[in-house]
């Protein structure tokens, strides 16, 4: 079973990061809190025994995603006050989120299978992970599809952000600059 104290500390860090990222007044603050939350989750996962996943988590979420978000914030907000918005608690979403959490909590707490799963499985080695990934009954297909998903993501990002050439209807970005007129 897990050491309660460590669980408490890491869990608190995780929740703290999440709450602040979500309710941050300033988008930049939100971005940094996201970084903190990603690192906390990597630690938590390490604590749960999946070191490899923790490392990947750290790389992907904290690294790539966090930095990318910050980069986008920089591009899209010319000045500081743009990113500002007064913080207020939106009641309706709060009710919905709380209700969902309540339902989930009720489900989790009353579930026997969860309670019964206590065997401490020894964590998978990376070699084993690789071998299972590409075994005949493994996940080669899923791997291929994942790669295609990334390719689509790439194409989409390129398509939307490239400014140089003409749009589908031949109009160049210059003449629709005043898009928001």
């Amino acid at each position: 079973m897990l050491n309660a104290i460590a669980f408490g500390v890491l869990g608190f860090a995780l929740l703290l990061g999440a709450v602040n990222a979500v309710t941050a007044g300033n988008v930049v603050h939100a971005a940094f809190w996201l970084l903190e939350c990603a690192c906390a989750s990597a630690g938590f996962i390490w604590f749960l025994g999946a070191e490899y996943i923790a490392i990947i988590q750290l790389l992907v979420y904290a690294g790539a995603v966090g930095i990318l978000v910050i980069f986008t914030v920089m591009v899209t907000h010319r000045s500081y006050e743009d990113a500002e918005r007064q913080v207020r608690v939106a009641w309706l979403p709060l009710v919905f989120a709380a209700a969902l959490f309540g339902l989930l909590a009720y489900g989790i707490l009353t579930n026997q299978t969860l309670a019964s799963m206590t065997s401490a499985a020894d964590s998978l080695t990376i070699a084993e992970f690789g071998r299972q990934m590409f075994s005949p009954d493994g996940w080669t297909l899923a791997f291929e599809i994942a790669s295609l998903v990334l390719t689509v993501g790439l194409i989409a990002a390129v398509w939307w952000t490239r400014d140089t050439d003409t749009d589908a209807d031949g109009s160049t970005p210059a003449d629709t600059q005043g898009g928001d007129a």
Partner: protein
């Protein structure tokens, strides 16, 4: 084709109706010019037909009771639910007599109309329709089944429609022809119901089959069929409720009127009643109704005839009145008296009509007041008219006296003394108007100079008819025996009473009209009766206010109901609805100016009520359906505000609600 022949094979009798039918078929497709040229074909056909019918009469001579055919032929028309339905033709003594009579009158009229219609460019068409009519009448007389009778009955109606409306260019004949055809068809509704009832009862239309099973018909069925048949006869023979069409029918050419509205078609109703007498006699109430209708119609016709100024209208009302006599005769159960009077009446009424044709042709007017003193200029016409008129009045040696006397005796023997009094009154009035016309037309101051005597082609047929009127009187006994009853000469007392009746009417007429005494004083005394008579006892007014105008209003109202209310209720779609509102405005505009030109006050009040009803209640419904669906659509569009936040919250909200409902509620159920 099984033959029910005692011992005669009279197949060739069928040719009598077929010949004029063939003439019609030949003439129909011809162009106008060719048809005018060969207008002699129908006459030739009728002559041959007359020959055949006389030959049939000779062969059949001793005759037999009505209803026992010498020869019969039947075809299978169709099978209805496996049950065969047949049509048939039968030759019995009554049929032969009628064949002869119709052929004679037909030929005389056709010859007469050769001259009368000579300058009309559609005379070919006139002869063609005349041929069709004669074929239908001859077929009607020979028919052995009620269905054939009904079929030819309606064909005759069409022919009368075509003939009355012959000069369709001007207004009166058009209106008269439509009125005639519609009124007769009102009678036919009764015939239809009777036919349906009879078929339902005995599964066939053959007369002998009907008479065989009539004994065990249910009383209700008996009543329905007899009432139906009586109603049909009333329609066709212009009896009292449905007699308005005959006087107007005079708008047609005179020879047409002579043949159809005097001699043949109008008596078809009487002929049908004689044929169906076995059924009617079983129903005493029906007989009583027939008698009452007959007498009242006779009185009605006679009274109105006295007040007419138009020569042909006088003859028309006189026909109505004589038909009333015949119907009365049937009403008391004596077929022979009715048939005898029918025959004599055919001859002298055809004679009177043709002579009237000559007079009208000569004086170019139908109004008796402009005629006068024609005796000097048209001696033969006067003689011939006198024979006919006196026969109508019932002067002794002429056939009219004998047949009318026969009816008097029959009514007397039947014990219905009120009927006898009525008949006598009619006799008086008849001789009154006969004498009145006689004096006004032929004597008095001659006010038109260029009246000239009729030509030969006119006078020959007229004189034939005059001769027949003279002769027929003496055939009472042989004719009665021919029809299966031993006839006898009218008893002395009866002869005396009818002559007295005739003389008193004549005296009355002489005192009033012979010496041109001013009739104004008379008019004040009877002004109520006179004004009523002028308006034909308001019969037309009754038709108009209670049937025709409400019918116009009903059809207009129903169409509006149709166009607005049912449509409105059914298609509640907004898009169609917009089209509909335009339609309603258009309609309202037309209704308002429609109402202006002559609808009654009631009608206008009602439409305003309907409009209010339309605009608030009905439009409410139509609006409701239309806007309801559009309102829901608009509500949904308002939710679709384009704000992403709103969508997210909606989705998550929906998800949470569904999850809560399903997981929690179902979990516990």
């Amino acid at each position: 084709m099984e033959h029910v022949a005692q011992n005669l094979n009279l197949w060739w009798v069928l040719l009598v109706p077929l010949l004029p039918a063939a003439a019609f078929v030949v003439l129909l497709p011809m162009s106008r010019r060719v048809r005018n040229a060969c207008r002699f074909v129908p006459i030739a056909a009728m002559v041959v037909a007359l020959g055949l019918s006389i030959a049939a009469a000779v062969q059949v001579y001793p005759g037999s009771h009505i209803g026992e055919p010498f020869w019969q032929v039947a075809w299978q028309l169709a099978t209805l639910g496996g049950h065969a339905v047949t049509i048939s033709f039968a030759v019995d003594s009554l049929a032969v007599l009628m064949l002869v009579m119709v052929c004679i009158v037909g030929i005389c009229v056709q010859i007469f109309s050769l001259f009368y219609m000579k300058d009309d460019d559609r005379r070919g068409w006139f002869f063609c329709v005349m041929a069709l009519f004669l074929a239908a009448m001859l077929g009607f007389v020979l028919s052995g089944s009620l269905l054939v009778e009904f079929a030819l009955w309606e064909i005759m109606g069409v022919c009368s429609y075509l003939l009355i409306g012959f000069w369709y260019r001007d207004e009166a004949p058009r209106k008269a022809s439509q009125k005639a055809f519609l009124v007769t068809r009102t009678g036919d509704v009764g015939f239809f119901v009777a036919l349906a009832a009879i078929y339902a009862a005995c599964g066939s239309f053959e007369f002998e089959h009907i008479f065989a099973t009539v004994a065990n018909w249910s009383p209700a069925l008996l009543m329905v069929s007899s009432i139906g048949l009586i109603w049909a006869a009333i329609g066709k023979s212009a009896q009292i409720p449905l007699s308005a069409w005959l006087p107007d029918a005079m708008a047609g050419p005179t020879p047409g009127s002579a043949l159809i509205h005097a001699a043949t078609m109008v008596v078809a109703g009487v002929f049908m009643l004689t044929r169906m007498l076995p059924v009617l006699t079983l129903n005493p109430l029906a007989m009583q109704i027939i008698l009452v209708v007959g007498i009242i119609t006779a009185l009605y016709g006679a009274i109105l005839a006295c007040f007419q100024t138009d020569l042909k209208k006088v003859l028309a009302f006189s026909t109505i009145s004589q038909l009333g006599y015949m119907v009365a005769a049937i009403g008391v159960g004596s077929a022979t008296a009715a048939v005898f009077h029918l025959t004599t009446h055919a001859f002298f009424k055809a004679l009177l009509f043709l002579t009237a044709g000559i007079i009208i042709h000569a004086t170019h007017t139908q109004d008796m007041r402009q005629m006068g003193g024609l005796a000097r200029r048209m001696p033969i016409t006067t003689v011939v008219w006198t024979i006919g008129a006196f026969s109508l009045a019932g002067v002794l040696p002429l056939s009219g006296f004998f047949s009318k006397d026969e009816i008097f005796t029959v009514i007397w023997h039947s014990g219905q003394y009120w009927a006898f009094a009525g008949a006598a009154a009619v006799g008086v009035l008849t001789s009154l108007y006969v004498v009145k016309t006689w004096f006004t037309v032929f004597f008095g101051n001659s006010c038109n100079v260029n009246a000239h005597e009729g030509t030969a082609t006119e006078l020959v047929p007229v004189s034939i008819l005059a001769a027949l009127t003279l002769v027929c009187g003496f055939l009472t006994i042989p004719l009665a025996r021919f029809l299966g009853h031993e006839g006898e000469w009218p008893s002395l007392t009866m002869a005396a009473t009818s002559t007295a009746v005739m003389l008193c009417g004549a005296a009355l007429g002489y005192t009033i009209y012979a010496r041109q005494r001013s009739t104004e004083r008379l008019k004040q005394i009877f002004n109520v009766v006179v004004s009523a008579a002028d308006a034909r006892f308001y019969l037309d007014w009754v038709y108009d206010t209670f049937f025709i105008r409400p019918y116009f209003w009903l059809s207009e109202a129903l169409w509006k109901l149709d166009a607005v209310i049912i449509d409105g209720a059914v298609n509640g779609v907004a898009w169609l609805y917009r089209g509909l509102t335009r339609l309603i405005n258009l309609l309202d505009a037309r209704i308002i100016d429609g109402a202006v030109n002559g609808a009654a006050w009631l009608y206008r009040a009602l439409t305003r009520g309907a409009q209010w009803f339309d605009s608030t209640v009905i439009d409410g419904i139509v609006n409701g359906l239309g806007t309801l669906s559009r309102a829901i659509g608009a509500a949904l569009r308002r939710v679709q505000t384009g704000h992403l936040q709103r969508y997210q919250r909606l989705i998550v909200g929906a998800a949470v609600v569904i999850v809560a409902v399903l997981v929690l509620v179902l979990r516990f159920l």
